[in-house]
Every structure is written in C-alpha cells, then in structure tokens.
C-alpha cells in the first residue's frame, strides 16, 4: 500500500514538472532574443578579409565575394525589419490551458490504458530474501514452465519437469506432464509406467483402473519392467489379491540384477505382506489404515510427510471435512516453516480444496 502511495506521489511530482516546463516560459516576459542570419553573413565577410590577407584568394575574387555576401546582408536586414515579434494574451492563455488540462489528461489516459500502478517492482534479490529455500526449485520450475508455455510440443521438457512436480507433491500436474511426454515422444514401457506412477500418486496411493490399464500396456511392451511390475503388484494387493501381489513381486526380485536399487523396496513390501497364507488387509481396510495413521499422528505429530498423506487419503476417501481439519492442524504445527506451508498449499490446490 505504501509503495503504491510513493508511486502516486512520484506521478504527481512528474506531472507538475511537465506542466511547469510549459508554464514557466509562458510566464516569463519574452523578447525576440534569437540569433539571426546577419551574424553568419558578417562572419563570412570577416572570413573573406582573412582569406585575402592570407593570400588564399585574389583581390578581385575577394571583392566579388564581398559584394555577394553584402547583398545577402541587405536582404536579411530587410526581412528582420518586416517581422516584429509580439505576444498576444489570448494565445498565451490557450497554451497555458493546454498545459494545465491537456498534458495531464493525455498522460493519465495514456497511462491508464496499460499501466499497473499498484504492482510494485520485483527485484530478484528482494524476492530471494522473502522466499528462501524455495527459490532453487521454484526457479527451475519457472524456467521450464516458461519454456513449455512457449514450446508446448517439447516432449523432453515435459519429461524433465514431471518428476520435479511429483517430488513437490503436485501430482495432478505430474500426470499432465507425463501424459504429454507420452503423447509427444511415443509410448515406451518406461513412459507408460511413469504415467501410471503419477496417476497413483494423484489418487492418493490407490491404483486406479486408468493407471492399471497403463501398467498393463507397459508390461505388454516390456514384460520385466520393474516399476510397472511393482505397481501392478500393489494393484493386486489393493484389489484383495495379496497372493498375486506376492507372486509378482517375488518374480521381480528373482529376475532383478543383484544390486538393483529397487530390490530393497520389493523385499520390504514382500515382508510387509507377511507369511504366504496369512490374511492381509484388503482395499476395504484402507479406511482402517487411514484411521491408524491419524491416530499415530495424533500421538506424534512431527511426521510432516505423514500429515500430507493423511490429508490426501481423506480427500481420496471423499471426506473433505476431515481433510480440511487435518490441514488446519498441519498449519498449526508447521506454521513457522514457510516451505512446508507452501507444500501444503500446493497439495490443497491440487486436491481442489483451495490454497
């Protein structure tokens, strides 16, 4: 608000200066103090004299030139006598009125068409101080987004930005980016699996029918694709077929290279399923898992990622009120940490529950 006031003050001062630039010379009593051609011709006469003294031109030429210049002087003197320079009060008043009314009017209307007086400058250094920590990734994303806005057909750009979105919890945008990359660069098992992964994240961890269809296409392209296999296993588990999930994951463990990075995840998932025959929670028990998560966070609320999962889960289950309540307690607990609140806001926007 104060910045805007300063801008308006500057505008007023500048307008006043512009009006004064017109009014001051009008007010000053004015005589015709301009130069005239006479000075030039007199100088030319001097020059002829100098040239003749120096011997550059002969006496006859000098005389001829002198006559020529003298003729110009006479003509100029006649003219200056004929034109008396006077002022008239009426004209001055019109000019003054134009300065007082037209100049500010043109300025305000012209500026009003495009100007945004309330929008202060945004020097980069200040903005970095205001939002520390966030700006590295924000800078990266802004740059890629600007590039993609100009080149929406750049599949590689979409591919680069997608995992960043996913890491920031902007799953909805990750889905869009993955889908664009798939469309532009062509289908591969990797791209199908990546799209499904984003869809699962957007669904709060639930493997939707859409995601499953994509996973099956991925497996059709590459039967041993680890990410697709893992997610299909998850899908089977959520559909209440843990045995199938175990079978899929176990096979993946068998065929994986000995130091594959995803081995750890798969082993812990298989371990989570427990002994082969034990009954495991099915999709219908998800609500129970969510309640469990809520209870754990109630007891120990420091797990920020857990909170985000909880908000997302409630939202996916259609319990918007509970999601909002969870979000409110996140704000209470992490209110001092700007970047976390930023992540929460991003999630809420993505879930369509406002910022």
């Amino acid at each position: 608000m104060e910045g805007s006031f300063a801008v308006w003050t500057m505008f007023a001062l500048m307008t006043a200066a512009a009006v004064m630039a017109v009014l001051l010379p009008l007010a000053r009593a004015r005589t015709a103090d301009g130069g005239s051609d006479l000075a030039v011709y007199r100088d030319q006469l001097d020059e002829i004299g100098r040239d003749r003294d120096a011997g550059v031109i002969g006496a006859a030429e000098a005389d001829a030139a002198r006559i020529e210049v003298s003729r110009r002087i006479i003509a100029a003197a006649e003219r200056s006598g004929a034109t008396a320079l006077e002022g008239a009060g009426g004209r001055r008043r019109v000019a003054a009125l134009a300065a007082l009314v037209a100049v500010p009017l043109v300025a305000i209307v012209g500026y009003g068409l495009r100007g945004q007086p309330g929008y202060p400058g945004q020097p980069l250094a200040e903005r970095r101080q205001q939002a520390p920590g966030q700006n590295d990734i924000a800078t990266l994303i802004a740059r890629i987004e600007a590039h993609l806005a100009a080149n929406p057909e750049d599949g590689r750009g979409w591919e680069v930005v997608a995992p960043v979105y996913l890491r920031l919890g902007r799953a909805g945008e990750a889905v869009r980016a993955r889908a664009n990359a798939l469309r532009l660069l062509g289908a591969t098992a990797d791209r199908e699996a990546d799209l499904a992964e984003a869809q699962v994240a957007a669904g709060g961890g639930v493997v939707t029918a859409e995601a499953k269809a994509g996973l099956e296409r991925a497996i059709a392209l590459s039967a041993d694709h680890p990410k697709a296999g893992y997610l299909l296993g998850l899908s089977a588990e959520q559909d209440g077929r843990p045995a199938e999930a175990r079978a899929i994951w176990s096979r993946l463990i068998e065929i994986a290279p000995p130091n594959a990075p995803w081995l750890g995840v798969l082993r812990s998932e298989v371990a989570r399923l427990g002994p082969a025959d034990a009954p495991r929670p099915t999709a219908s028990d998800i609500r129970g898992m969510v309640e469990g998560l809520a209870a754990r966070l109630e007891a120990d609320g420091t797990d920020f990622d857990g909170w985000l999962r909880l908000v997302r889960s409630y939202s996916v289950l259609g319990e918007a009120d509970k999601a909002r309540a969870a979000a409110a307690s996140v704000r209470q607990r992490f209110g001092a940490e700007a970047d976390k609140i930023g992540q929460l806001d991003a999630l809420m926007r993505e879930l369509g529950m406002g910022g």
Partner: protein
C-alpha cells in the same frame, strides 16, 4: 524504482511532444515570441522524461526485475553486468526507446545551444523534431511497450545465448543510432525551412555541424560493425553487402552528399533546392534503415503478417514522414529563390559531380537491397542479389568519384581552370604513377587492375594533402611563414584534406585485402609444416581444453619467419556444453597492417585437422582509413565558422557592420 514510473514518464513525454508539435509552429505563424519560447523548456522536459524511462528500464534489467516482460524475454539473472546493460537495447522495444532517447537528446541540444538561431526557425525545428518524437512514442506505447508487466513474475529470464554476449554487439547499435537519429536534425531544419518558405546561405551553416556530427557517428558505427564481423564471425570477411549493412550504408552515402552540397549552399547560395531534398532523403533512408532491421522484414517478408499491428504502424510512420515531407517539398520548393551561378568547371561543379555519383551509388544500393524484397512480396519469387551485383554497380560509380574528389579542392569557386588545377596536381599524379609501378614490380599475381587502384589510392592521399601543402606554401616559403599559414588555414580545409586522404588509406586496405589475399586450406597432422605468406607454420599438436562453460580443441601452431621464431597461434574449435553449440575461435597474427588469419575446421578421427589460412595484406588500413575520415570530420567540426553559432560572438567588428549598410 518501480517500472511504472518509467511507463508514466514515457506517457508524459508523449504529452509534451504533442504540445511541442503544435504550439511552437502556431507561435511561429503568428510571430508570437511567448509561444515559440515554450519549445526550449518543453524539449528539455521531454528529454528528461524519456531519460527517466530509459533509466527505469535499465534499472529493471540491473536488478533482474522479472515482473517486466521485456526483462524476462531478454535477460537472465546470471548474465554479466555489461550484458545486462546492453540487453536493454539488444531487443526491439528497448532499441526503439534508445532511438527516441537519442532523438530527444538532439532536440535538447538545439534548445540549449541554438541561441544563434532565429526564433521562428528554432521553434519550427523543435516542432518537427517533436513530430518524430511523438510518432515514435506512440509506436512504442501502442505496439512495443517495454514496460509491459507479468503477474505473477517468473523467477528467471530466458536469454542466455552466448553468441549475443559480445562487446561489439553492445556498442555497435548506439553508435549507428547516433548517426541515424543525428540526420533527423538536418531533416527538421529542411522541413522548418520549407514551412517558412525561405532558405538561405545561413541555413546551410546552421545545418552543417549537425549533419557532420551525425555523419561521424554513422561512419564510426558502420566501421565498427564491419570490424566486428571480421573479428568474430570466423570467416575473415569484412563487408558482405548484407541488407543490414546496406541499410546503414545508404544514409551514409546520402549524408556524405548532403555535407558537400551544404558547402556550396553556404558559400554560394546555390543548390538550395537540391540540398533540402538531400536532407529529407538522408533521414528517410535512416528511417528505412531502422525499420528494415527492426521490423524483421529482412529475415522474412512474412514478419509483417505475423505482427500486423506493428507492421502497419511502421508503414504508416514511413509514409507519413517520407511522403509528407516530399509533398511539402514539391509544394514549397519552387518558391525558394535560386542563388549564385557557376560554370561547370568550378569548385561548385566538382561538388555537384560528387553529389551525382554519391546519389547514383546510393540508388544502386537501394535497388540491390529492396528489389528482392519487392519481387518476393509481389511475385513470390526468391532471388538473392549478392556481392557481384554491388561490385558491378557500386565499384564503377566510386572510381570517377575518387578521381574527381582530388580535383575539387584545387578548383576555384564560380569558375575554375582545369588545366591550372592539373598542373598544381603534378605531385599527386607522380605519386600515383610511382605507386602503381612499384606495386606492379613488387607483387606477383593479383588482378591487373590492382596496381592501378593502389596508384589511385596514392594519388588521392598525396593530392588531398598537396592542396593544403600548397596553401601553406610548404617548401616554397620559409618554415616560419608556412607554420603561420598552417595555423591561419581554416580547420575545415584541414578537415577536407584529412578526410579525403582517409578515403585513400581505406582504398589501399580494400585493394590489398581483395586482390592480394592469399588463401590456403590444408589438412594437417601434428608435425606437418606449411608455408603461408612467408611464414613456416608447424602444427605441434591438438589439445583439448576445458573452459568454464565450453570445451575447446586447440590447434597449436608455431610460426617461423625465415628460420626465426615469430610467435604462436592457437585457433580453436569450441563447443558450448550447455547448448551443444559449436563455434570457431579464429587466431590472428598481425604484421604491420597485414594479418594472418587462421580458422580451424573439423578434427578428423585420423587425428588431422582442416585449417584455413588467410593472409590479408594491409587489411587493417580499411578501418584505420575510416578513423582518418572521422578525424577529418572532427577537424571540420571544430572550425570556427561552425562555432559562429554555438557560443555567440561577443562583439562584431565595425567594418563588417559598415559593409552591411
């Protein structure tokens, strides 16, 4: 500082320009001193507000204010400081703002230092300047506003192209603009004179310093652009007859003609109508040059269709100013009284000849530059008019001009004696023939005409200086007399001699480079030696070098001349890693005014590299010649006659006044 302040300042400048477009002209009509007197302060105000706008934009670039669209599109927070500054005018919007800033600066100079001008003339001149300012400010605000904002602001800008980060590119446009816009002054004087319906010898004297200033800046701008191309583009060419170059050469040719015809007008009151026309044409060509380069028409005729609003606005400005001034000329010029008369063989006659050849050459360049554009717009056929066209048209027109250029100063005003002049030019003829024979004896190969042109260059240099030598009676009078006369000689006479000699110096460079250039393309392996222009060049090795944001493959060449070490050259093939963009870094060895230029090609898998050697004799004289020409302009500008205007002479001597009675 908020970018909005810059935006508002720009609109205020427009409001003042509109006021100044009308009120002083009205005042001049009514002979109202008060109304005419407003022009000065308003011109200063305009200049101040445009300067504020320019400062605001520069500030936005310096602090990387990405809420300004122009900054986002043309800058980046990691750019070095100097390229953040040059980025201000490295784009369409910013360069137009710079153009207007220079325009208002020239107006402000008239307002401050034009005290010697008659009040009505000054009021009209400033009003015409304000018309141009208002048109360009409208154009900027309507179609190319550099202060458009983006909300929310992105965190980073988009421009990091390493090729555009070059000191030559940073300085070149402002110099060119100072030249282009400087010619707006002679245009404003011409139109003001037409409005008043009278024009006389004094007018020419008032216009000359402005035209001379503009000419010097334009010469500097063109010369610098050519030097940059030679150094940076990696091919060793210095003039390509590229449309962008032609766009700046045309106003230069017309402006040179204007400078010379203004002399006739000042001395003899002749050629008035022609001089006024030249003043109009020169600025029209400057406008055309600005727009040809800026509108993108040169890269594609279709650029107009992509941004029709901008294109139509540009066309409207061109038609209004060129068409309007020519119409005013057609209406008013017949009323101008004819002045002094002269014989065909006279100083005036020589200057007329100069004007004829310069304008004919300008017209030839005009046809070669615009004919392909017109043909494509009309029929769709794509042709390229290349160097052969210009060599065939421009060259033959320049030769008689250069021959006549030396004669001119030897001829008397009104009626000259060709034979007497030729006798006084014996030294020049002798020097020309001697230089021709010497070149013929010393050089091998090269076109037959080349020694003739070297002779022509020597004739120009000696002839130009001989005229001054004769006037100071060098070797014929005692030294003291000579020195005294040299001091008494008007600076403009020195200026003429020096500027003309500069043309000769440049000609030597051009002939040396084009006729005696040696070129050698060889495939070399480490250890190989070739012989180029008296150097034994040995490739000692190829080494990869890692730079901050690029990778080089450096070819290390050891030079020996007659068995003596003559230095090392390290041309490189460079790849900017981030964008995988290859560039060629040529290496140069200077010997006197000549240079050995090495440009590397691709490295073969067999370990050999293609190297392109150019030996360019006397090549540096091309740019040294333009410097000498500019020095001539500077000498002429410092002549006391031109200063009659600036600081008003305190007292006039009595005899002059008596002569007036």
């Amino acid at each position: 500082m908020s970018p909005e302040i810059g935006h508002y300042a720009l609109v205020l400048a427009l409001a003042l320009a509109l006021f100044q477009s009308v009120v002083p002209v009205w005042g001049a009509r009514k002979r109202d001193a008060a109304l005419m007197g407003t022009a000065d302060a308003v011109a200063l105000g305009q200049c101040a507000f445009v300067a504020i706008a320019f400062a605001a934009l520069t500030h936005a670039y310096l602090v990387s204010d990405f809420s300004v669209e122009n900054v986002v599109l043309n800058s980046h927070s990691t750019k070095p400081l100097i390229y953040k500054i040059s980025g201000v005018w490295g784009n369409h919007e910013g360069s137009m703002l710079l153009w207007v800033l220079i325009l208002t600066l020239f107006s402000a100079f008239v307002a401050l230092f034009g005290r010697n001008l008659p009040l009505p003339l000054k009021a009209n001149v400033l009003a015409v300047q304000a018309w141009i300012t208002a048109a360009f400010l409208l154009f900027i605000l309507k179609t190319s506003n550099p202060f458009n904002r983006i909300n929310p602001a992105p965190f980073e800008g988009r421009d990091l192209n390493p090729l555009l980060q070059d000191p030559g590119l940073a300085i070149h446009p402002p110099l060119l603009y100072l030249g282009y816009v400087g010619f707006s002054m002679s245009f404003a004087f011409a139109v003001a004179a037409l409005i008043e319906g009278r024009i006389d010898a004094a007018w020419a004297r008032w216009v000359r310093p402005w035209a001379l200033t503009a000419w010097m800046f334009l010469t500097a701008g063109i010369s610098m652009g050519s030097f940059w191309a030679y150094y940076e583009l990696g091919w060793g060419g210095w003039w390509f007859w590229d449309p962008v170059e032609n766009a700046s050469l045309m106003p230069w040719l017309a402006g040179t003609a204007l400078l010379h015809s203004a002399i006739v007008m000042e001395k003899r009151e002749a050629l008035k109508v022609w001089t006024v026309l030249l003043a109009i044409l020169t600025f029209s060509l400057s406008l055309l040059g600005t727009f040809l380069v800026r509108s993108g028409v040169l890269t594609s005729v279709h650029a107009f269709a992509v941004d029709p609003e901008r294109g139509i606005f540009i066309l409207a400005i061109l038609i209004a100013f060129i068409g309007g001034s020519l119409a005013l000329y057609a209406w008013r010029a017949p009323m101008l009284r004819q002045g002094g008369i002269f014989a065909p063989v006279s100083r005036e006659g020589a200057l007329v000849l100069n004007n004829l050849f310069l304008t004919a050459a300008c017209a030839a360049v005009f046809v070669g530059t615009l004919y392909p554009l017109a043909l494509e717009a009309l029929t769709g056929a794509k042709i390229s008019v290349g160097p052969p066209f210009f060599n065939w048209t421009f060259g033959p027109l320049m030769v008689p001009l250069m021959v006549a250029m030396v004669f001119g100063p030897f001829l008397a005003w009104k009626r000259g004696d060709l034979l007497a002049a030729a006798q006084r030019m014996m030294a020049a003829f002798a020097a020309g023939i001697a230089a021709m024979l010497l070149t013929f004896a010393v050089t091998r190969g090269g076109p037959v005409l080349a020694p003739v042109f070297i002779g022509l260059a020597a004739y120009i240099i000696v002839g130009s200086l001989a005229e001054v030598a004769e006037r100071v009676q060098l070797f014929r009078a005692p030294l003291a007399t000579t020195l005294q006369r040299a001091r008494g000689l008007p600076r403009s006479a020195w200026g003429t001699a020096v500027a003309h000699a500069g043309v000769g110096v440049m000609l030597i460079g051009i002939v040396g480079e084009t006729c005696y250039r040696q070129e050698l393309i060889v495939q070399m392996k480490p250890g190989d030696t070739v012989e180029v222009a008296g150097y034994q060049v040995t490739l000692t090795g190829l080494a990869p070098v890692q730079g901050p944001n690029y990778r080089d493959v450096v070819a290390r060449l050891v030079l020996r001349e007659g068995g003596v070490d003559a230095g090392i050259l390290e041309p490189a093939k460079r790849v900017y890693t981030a964008r995988n963009m290859p560039t060629t870094e040529a290496a140069l060895k200077t010997r006197g005014f000549s240079q050995l230029y090495v440009s590397p090609g691709d490295v073969e898998t067999s370990g050999s590299i293609a190297l392109r050697f150019f030996y360019k004799p006397m090549v540096l004289l091309i740019w040294i010649g333009t410097l000498v020409m500019m020095l001539g302009g500077l000498l002429s500008l410092s002549d006391r006659r031109l200063r009659v205007g600036a600081p008003k002479p305190a007292a006039r001597r009595a005899p002059a006044v008596q002569a007036a009675e």
